[in-house]
Symmetry: C2
Subunit: 306 residues, 2 copies
Amino acid sequence: MTAILVSEVGPRDGLQSIDRVMPLEAKKAWIAAEAAAGVREIEVGSFVPPSLLPQMADTAALVEFARTIPGLNVVALVPNAKGAARAVQAGVHAMSIPFSMSETHSLRNVRKDHPAMLAEIAEAACIAKDAGVHFAVGLATAFGCTIEGAVPEATVLRLAEAAVAAGAQELSLSDTTGYADPAQVKRLVRAVKAAVGGDMLTTLHLHNTRGLGLANALAGLDEGITTIDASLGGLGGCPYAPGASGNLVTEDLVLMLNSMGIETGIDLDKLLAVRGILEQALPGEPLYGFTPLAGPMLDYPERIAR
Amino acid sequence: MTAILVSEVGPRDGLQSIDRVMPLEAKKAWIAAEAAAGVREIEVGSFVPPSLLPQMADTAALVEFARTIPGLNVVALVPNAKGAARAVQAGVHAMSIPFSMSETHSLRNVRKDHPAMLAEIAEAACIAKDAGVHFAVGLATAFGCTIEGAVPEATVLRLAEAAVAAGAQELSLSDTTGYADPAQVKRLVRAVKAAVGGDMLTTLHLHNTRGLGLANALAGLDEGITTIDASLGGLGGCPYAPGASGNLVTEDLVLMLNSMGIETGIDLDKLLAVRGILEQALPGEPLYGFTPLAGPMLDYPERIAR
């Protein structure tokens, strides 16, 4: 039986995408409940300046809390070396730095071109390495950019190699924009693995903007991807396009993987119950997903026992 | 480049699932507009007694109209031999009869057990054959049943062989209940093809109840499926579970296939415009799909030109 790590990124990617700030206690309850449902890795927040993203101001406190949960891999996003130092100080197990393959997107988002980002990555990598913290680079907009359009595969390969040279211990391919299609996922995963070594690319970060999220996940599994990011309730979906959720929905991903007989270690019923925490802490916030509405199939217990 | 036939079933499966009756002229406009967008096969209705499904009472008139559209394959559903005779009389190119793999579902739905349905299929097949009309059998609830739960693979294989013996010229596997997962799709398609011959099983009819529709379609493509049913706007979704659409959404399927460089012959922009006909004819009726909200990717023209 294959084992796939479902990495919950909702407390970071979901919460940073909505205006409201979730109270620290609710975040803790969310993280604890997901871990109790069997989720083994959670990106609990982001070490960005609180002035930019007040939603993430309590990330250090969340890291401290999440570290008390046995068996949970505690991850945080860091935008730069300064964030990496804060992440180390807070005690993360792993950190991830986004590196946008579209230079225009990078300039707009963090006001850094590719060489400047690579210098930042190298500095952050040193900080992580010195502290013995796992260091991943997320290749953002790898499947296309809302400003530039297509991002050439050659660009992704060149920058993937540069990220590894700068100290990345692991890469993920991020479909930041919801542009990926399954054929592209297969091509790009294969090409990046060929360029930097199969073990270096483990993770897909997918969005469900055009409904292709699970199909893209499936395509990634076919190419040996072993970690898939997802967000409970697809939190952080675009409010201007109801139903056009942003992140891949954890509940639907877990239903798919578990039904297929792929080991996630996650109890779907317990996971579905965690939505109640979001509904209570963020009343009226749109939550997505099909499984929460339809429930598992009648023969779900038989499927997962296969 | 692979070519995949996207078969529009909305005028049948979508409209039979909602209470309102779409006026004949709107149905005609819908069918004409989809054909103009490049859709090459449409299931225009069902030859069930109008007393049971008044939504389908004008199917003969629709067949007559659709037959005037050059290059369009005009399909109708028939529940039994009587319906087959009406379909032949109306002038369909092809007919499809549903055969529920769950005997409980069959008894509830059409009050016939498996032997009685096989007799009906044999009679309908003769009627179709005599008229030179293509005759397909849809293996309904093939991936599981909301009453029985799991439907054993051995049952599906046995009944698939029996349907072929009774005169089916083509089989489709129908996930009537939205139970399928991608691993199951691969297993079952492979097994049925092995049992009845690869060319006999061409079609998947998928629902998106649990969000796995496109992932299941992708799994089917991997196993040599060449026709996929879908419904514009996912029409006919369950009103009690908003977002939990019933049918696979044609728009999302076409976006996925076209982006992958799979030839469907369908112009996505024109297809998206057809939704306007549904919105006007069925005001307030929930329509589904992600692509209609997000639009195609900025580099979509480059993707389809690959």
